[in-house]
């Protein structure tokens, strides 16, 4: 069903904008939650994004935008509501749509907007040190403000009872990984409740981006999450190009897809090695996998001058082209990496001890994945058939479709196998891109225009969404939504019931970004 037809069912909603792929409608702050519930419950749309903007100067109000994905029609439906400055509340969406719960706590912290009726409105992004009444995303808050050091409580979930005890872990972990704090409430070895405290690496990127030109913003975007530079840059540039209304040359599209798949290959190889090796103690897989990953990183250094697939994707196209020899180098290195990794993983999968650790561990039921708005590979491994590359084709994926890999069991094994299958698809795609690479330009002249657009990319982790508004030639508001932001909540579901020593393998099987979430 088309989004306009859906929205026509609600008399309270007024359609304000219609373009291919996007429909926007205005609703009142009282109706928002009810319509959202109907869109998700009755029409099966997914809540993909909820964010606010400060428009107090012009309208004495905050703007609230909820983005729903209408996969079947390949459209995004944006519901916008105004929240008056003096009386900043609206009726909470979380009460009926669980996927909204982090977004609403986020709004509460960053804008001071109250979602009335939210079941759990504790602090999310602000730690103890942030004083009460600090709202960094309001326009009157300076990006370089110096704040006092406060000591506001940051309560976490806690279970009490005979024989139940609590294990606090982090933020500084035993391994070389990112910082996060986890509380395990356990009875014996088994996890009863698990909650994470994140946003340790919060650097204020969203605020810094305000007032920057598109070009000035790009370095921050490429450094949101070190392991996802190409995908983030692509989503950002797509939003910029959508606002400018330009189409990039075919060669640029193909090279962009190629880069994205190379990034996917790098990280899938890493994850196969990390889950299989470091997660289970089967060090043969890790030793070989990391060696193979290093070769792909060196390939990036050879063709781009850095090891992280950075610097090539820019608004309007690409900053550099690949020569025939470079493309050949990419193909050969990728092929070798793929076949070797396959061989290593197949040996591991022949081991019963290895399978015992993966199978039935960390099960994420499909219902939970849908309810919490899980995205990407982790959702597909639980049977959620969604993939931006198919549902909202971008770059070269329209012309060269990618088959979507789904699994049904939702355990660590399903996520492991999904990575292996995706790696195969990616290899085939890289071959196709190199052999059928179009000739021609790699840049379209771009004139930055004012407006609003959504950029979406299926990164190796999952759907990245950028809500970007440009005003007077500079960024007015940019909300980059990392797939990890949606998937962190899943730990509360897939953790309990498992034993504590299995948590690391559950964690590695999701491989979420702290930096990308914390921004």
């Amino acid at each position: 069903m088309k989004s306009v037809e859906i929205i026509a069912e609600f008399q309270e909603a007024r359609t304000t904008y219609e373009a291919p792929g996007i429909v926007r409608a205005e609703v009142s702050r009282n109706d928002l939650s009810r319509i959202a519930a109907a869109l998700v419950g009755r029409h099966g749309l997914a809540l993909s994004l909820l964010f606010a903007a400060d428009n107090r100067q012009e309208k004495h109000a905050f703007e609230l935008h909820a983005v729903f994905s209408n996969d079947a029609a390949h459209e995004r439906l944006v519901l916008s509501a105004e929240v008056p400055e003096q009386d900043a509340w609206y009726s909470s969406i979380t009460a009926t749509v669980a996927a909204a719960h982090w977004y609403e706590r986020y709004l509460h912290d960053m804008f001071g907007i109250e979602p009335k009726g939210h079941p759990d409105l504790r602090r999310l992004i602000h730690h103890e040190n942030v004083p009460e009444g600090t709202f960094p995303l309001r326009k009157d808050f300076a990006w370089n403000a110096k704040m006092e050091h406060a000591d506001v409580p940051y309560p976490m979930q806690h279970v009490e009872g005979e024989g139940i005890y609590e294990i606090p872990v982090g933020p500084i972990h035993a391994g070389v990984i990112e910082p996060g704090h986890f509380r395990f409430n356990v009875a014996g070895e088994r996890i009863i409740n698990l909650e994470g405290k994140l946003f340790f690496t919060h650097k204020g990127v969203e605020k810094i981006l305000e007032g920057k030109t598109v070009g000035e913003g790009l370095p921050f975007i490429e450094r949101l999450s070190g392991d996802m530079a190409a995908a983030n840059a692509l989503a950002y540039c797509q939003a910029v190009e959508a606002i400018a209304g330009i189409e990039i040359p075919k060669r640029a599209k193909m090279l962009r897809s190629l880069l994205n798949e190379l990034e996917r290959m790098t990280m899938h190889v890493h994850d196969l090695a990390n889950i299989g090796g470091m997660g289970t103690g089967y060090s043969f897989v890790a030793a070989n996998g990391f060696r193979i990953k290093e070769r792909i990183m060196r390939l990036s250094a050879r063709v781009l001058g850095n090891r992280f697939w950075r610097g090539m994707i820019v608004p309007g196209g690409l900053s550099q082209d690949f020569t025939k020899e470079q493309l050949q180098d990419i193909l050969e290195t990728a092929k070798e990496a793929y076949w070797e990794m396959r061989e290593v993983v197949e040996l591991a999968l022949a081991s019963d001890g290895f399978l015992d650790r993966l199978q039935t561990t960390g099960v994420l039921p499909k219902e939970a994945a849908l309810a919490f708005g899980a995205v990407g590979l982790s959702a597909r491994a639980s049977g959620v058939d969604r993939d931006v590359r198919r549902d909202y084709p971008y770059a070269a994926y329209g012309e060269y479709p990618m088959p979507v890999v789904t699994k049904n069991t939702g355990d660590v094994y399903a996520r492991y196998k999904a990575r292996l299958d995706e790696l195969e698809q990616t290899m085939g795609f890289i071959e196709k891109m190199v052999s059928e690479m179009a000739d021609g330009e790699i840049m379209t002249a771009i004139e930055i225009k004012d407006g609003f657009a959504i950029g979406a990319v299926e990164s190796w982790r999952g759907e990245i969404l950028y809500a970007l508004e440009i005003k007077d030639g500079v960024i007015e508001r940019c909300f980059p939504r990392d797939p990890s932001f949606c998937n962190w909540a899943l730990f509360g579901i897939l953790g309990p019931g498992n034993i504590v020593p299995d948590f690391p393998i559950c964690n590695k099987s999701l491989n979420l970004s702290y930096s990308g979430t914390d921004m």
Binding site: P136, N144, K146, G175, P179, K203, I208, F220, K293, F308
Partner: protein, 175 residues
């Protein structure tokens, strides 16, 4: 795998490892050998233990630190290894611009490490605050929180640059 198949693979199968010369990096080996010597001079022993702390990085630095353990670099050969507790550490690696939310964690980690502890700031963020410097959420370079002895700039520094930095740190340290 049947025995016959195994034997067949062992004798007639494709190569499963790479000959050392195909990836040996002379420069890297030289730095490693020098580090080994410095460790002996400083500590009279054979090993140096490192505790890595993420002070707010983008995880690119962590990727490179992890890479130091892969077969191409394998820093364990030179007596270097990452440890799980600061109590066991001779050296502290700190990455990222230190964020407000991690300031206390970085400080406590430093306090928990036995002295003398060599502190190395890894990456532009850790050295000067990087592109996020002055943000409301960021404290700044690592030296705003704890004393820093050596800085390894880079965005992020490559594994070889990190190893060079370790050597410089050891050379500048007094016995």
């Amino acid at each position: 795998m049947s025995l016959l198949k195994l034997l067949k693979m062992l004798f007639f199968g494709p190569r499963v490892t790479e000959p050392k010369k195909s990836f040996e990096d002379q420069e890297f080996e030289k730095i490693g050998a020098d580090i080994k010597k410095e460790i002996r001079r400083l500590y009279g022993g054979r090993s140096l233990r490192i505790r890595a702390v993420d002070g707010g990085s983008t995880n690119a630095e962590e990727i490179e630190l992890t890479a130091l353990g892969n077969a191409y670099y394998d820093i364990d050969r030179f007596g270097l290894s990452f440890v799980a507790s600061p109590r066991h550490a001779d050296m502290l690696f700190v990455t990222g611009p230190v964020t407000r939310n991690l300031e206390r964690a970085v400080k406590t980690t430093y306090e928990a490490a036995p002295q003398p502890c060599i502190v190395v700031a890894i990456g532009d963020g850790a050295c000067i605050g990087g592109i996020w410097k002055d943000s409301y959420a960021v404290v700044g370079a690592v030296d705003k929180v704890i004393p820093v002895h050596v800085r390894i700039p880079g965005d992020p520094p490559t594994p070889t640059e990190i190893l060079k930095g370790i050597l410089a740190a050891l050379r500048s340290a007094k016995k």
